[in-house]
């Protein structure tokens, strides 16, 4: 009942993949006991940031219920979405939660006209009944992303630019009037000159239409630009989560620090000074006991290699690092 207030509450979800390699099989924990909530009172943009292999895409797919979780639970407005079995329930869920994909050129079948997806969405969710009203619904959706039906009608994906396609993709997701969008790297394949227009669109959607967004990215600059809260992921773990200004401006976790430092800035004189340690084999890091970052952490301690750190609540955020264990006793979870 408590969950009713929450738009989304993700509790301790874990996803373990069995990688059936022939000689070196491993169990890979792609998402490890992740916990977060999104309130329903105010729409927010929540960013999941991390490098490739950090589990952010897996987490998105878990929330979308594209893949089964190993354990944990996900509640959407108080309903457990992990128990969805039939198509009817699934449709109802998809009506409320819609995805935006990374590659706008891949989002649509290159052999089909893009508007077919818009019409299909409108018809399948029962948003529009007759032919004309469908046109209206589609046009409205396109207008809300700064396009119009006229520009899009009858066009194939290759006839539109990446930016336009990504807008169409957003428009399609908006047709069932969802309250949550899950955008997986929505701008990484969009040209730099057009990128901001998409990012601004998300901001606008939150502010004007009250849509909450889970924004998944590796680009901390845009994350800082639009999001309210951010979670930094490393090998399936949330290492730091909190308001974006706090986390990115004064990072606590050594990983967040290095991550932030490594983002190149388009200004002069901010060149990197020190060399950094890189991991050679990803699989090793996944299999690591204790803190996953221990292998390349500049402030590594003995305990890091033995024990998985707990989440510490500190300065409006949670940090998963042994460094803060001594300072703060009030660990959560």
């Amino acid at each position: 009942m408590v969950n009713n207030e929450k738009l989304l509450s993700v509790k301790d979800i874990t996803k373990v993949f069995s990688i059936g390699g022939l000689l070196t099989g491993t169990r890979l924990t792609a998402v490890n006991e992740v916990y977060f909530e999104m309130g329903s009172a105010n729409p927010e943009i929540f960013t999941l940031a991390g490098e490739s292999g950090s589990g952010k895409t897996t987490l998105a797919r878990l929330i979308l219920h594209d893949i089964e979780l190993t354990h944990g639970s996900i509640f959407y407005r108080g309903t457990d979405v992990t128990t969805i079995r039939n198509r009817k329930e699934r449709m109802r869920f998809m009506e409320r939660v819609q995805p935006i994909f990374q590659n706008p050129f891949e989002t649509f079948n290159p052999l089909k006209r893009v508007d077919t997806y818009l019409y299909a969405t409108a018809v399948n969710y029962g948003i529009a009944k007759s032919g004309e009203s469908t046109d209206g619904v589609v046009d409205d959706a396109l207008r809300s992303v700064g396009l119009s039906l006229q520009e899009v009608r009858g066009r194939y994906p290759h006839e539109l630019s990446g930016g336009q396609l990504q807008r169409v993709s957003v428009a399609r997701a908006l047709i069932p009037r969802p309250s949550l969008l899950i955008a997986d790297e929505p701008v990484s394949m969009v040209d730099a000159s057009l990128r901001m227009s998409i990012v601004n669109l998300f901001k606008e959607l939150k502010e004007k239409s009250g849509v909450s967004i889970i924004y998944i990215t590796h680009d901390l600059a845009t994350a800082y630009y639009i999001s309210d809260r951010i979670a930094i992921m490393l090998r399936g773990n949330f290492v730091e989560m909190g308001p974006v200004e706090k986390v990115l401006s004064e990072p606590l976790h050594p990983y967040t620090k290095i991550l932030k430092e490594s983002v190149p800035k388009p200004v002069l004189g901010e060149k990197w000074k020190d060399k950094i340690e890189l991991s050679t084999l990803e699989a090793k890091e996944f299999a690591r006991v204790g803190c996953k970052f221990a292998g390349r952490c500049p402030s590594v301690m003995d305990i890091c290699k033995k024990e998985d750190p707990k989440n510490f609540l500190l300065d409006e955020r949670t940090v998963k690092c042994h460094l803060y264990a001594k300072q703060f006793k009030n660990s959560i979870l």
Partner: protein, 337 residues
């Protein structure tokens, strides 16, 4: 833990293989039960046809005696159950046309010939077809590559029977280099002597050549198109940029990668062995399983036909299993992932 995965993978593959064998054998068990063949009548009819006198009253006696001897009593489920019981003891029952010789004996006698001939031919065809196909695919603009392509296309629809016969006529009759028929020369028996080996090779050459031409042609075409796709892969382009020699690019980059799907194809090809063998062995009078099948067909010996089919099913399933398990040797990526 580490071995666990390999073990589990193997177990899973073996289980799948067994299931496939089970379904395949069950199908081959059911189908002939629908056929109106009667081994007893076949035997009597054969004797009758060959002009052996039998008094009408004696015919009834023979019929009774043979029915008992062949052990054809019982319902279908009972027969099915007994069938598996025997099969697990590697007993395929008696051959009706060569009663009471066990089907297993007949197969055991013929199997080495077929396996020897066809396995060798399949591998030679695979090697040559892929080699030439790869070369032709890489140098696809050259005249010889195109000519070979047309030749292979023309070979494929030629009925195998005719092809085999023309080869036979050419090399055993018009140019009498090779023997007309058989698996060994007269008077030659299995031994490790020069005479035996040359005789074996001489007799196997033409049938093998005919098989190699046909399936080599198919490999050629397959490899050709695979290569033409792979030459535009990044690692090939990159190696070209690095000035790596054509030969190295062709063999180590293009062909090596194009061979991967062809390895899987080889498993399937081994399955075709039992189909291909029939006509080959018939034309060349080669004493293998195909000839055995041919005789079984013409004597209505379905017990033998099923026996051969079962062998084929097991053989092919095992071949596929082995290639599946060995595949990681060819593709290092499978080992990891």
């Amino acid at each position: 833990m580490k071995h666990g995965f390999f073990f589990r993978y193997c177990l899973q593959r073996v289980g799948q293989c067994l299931l496939v064998i089970f379904i395949g054998i069950t199908i081959t068990f059911i189908i002939p039960r629908l056929a109106p063949t009667d081994p007893v009548e076949s035997a009597i009819a054969t004797a009758n046809m060959s002009g052996q006198y039998t008094h009408p009253e004696a015919v009834a006696e023979i019929r009774r005696a043979l029915t008992e001897l062949y052990g054809l009593e019982g319902g279908i489920f009972e027969q099915y159950f007994n069938f598996w019981k025997r099969l697990l003891k590697a007993d395929l029952g008696p051959s009706y046309s060569s009663f009471p010789t066990p089907v297993m004996d007949l197969i055991r006698r013929s199997l080495p010939w077929t396996v020897g001939l066809l396995l060798t031919s399949a591998f030679i065809a695979w090697a040559i077809g892929n080699l030439i196909g790869g070369l032709a695919g890489y140098f696809s603009q050259r005249g010889w590559a195109r000519t070979l392509g047309v030749f292979c296309m023309a070979i494929r629809p030629t009925p195998y029977y005719i092809m085999a016969f023309v080869i036979l006529a050419l090399f055993a009759y018009i140019l009498p280099i090779f023997p007309l028929s058989g698996g060994l020369a007269i008077g030659v028996h299995f031994s490790f002597t020069w005479r035996f080996i040359t005789s074996l090779l001489k007799h196997a050459f033409l049938p093998s050549l005919s098989l190699v031409i046909v399936s080599g042609g198919a490999w050629f075409l397959g490899m050709n198109s695979l290569v033409s796709n792979i030459v535009s892969e990044d690692y090939v382009v990159y190696a070209e940029m690095g000035g790596v020699s054509n030969r190295n690019i062709l063999f180590r980059y293009v062909m090596r990668n194009a061979l991967l799907p062809q390895v899987t194809g080889l498993a399937l090809q081994l399955g075709m062995i039992f189909n291909g063998a029939l006509i080959t062995e018939y034309v060349f009078s080669y004493p293998g399983l195909g000839y055995l099948t041919y005789n079984a067909v013409f004597s209505g010996d379905y017990g033998l036909i099923i026996g051969i089919a079962i062998f084929s099913i097991i053989g092919v399933a095992l071949a596929i299993l082995i290639i599946d398990l060995a595949y990681p040797l060819f593709d290092p990526r499978i080992r990891h992932r």
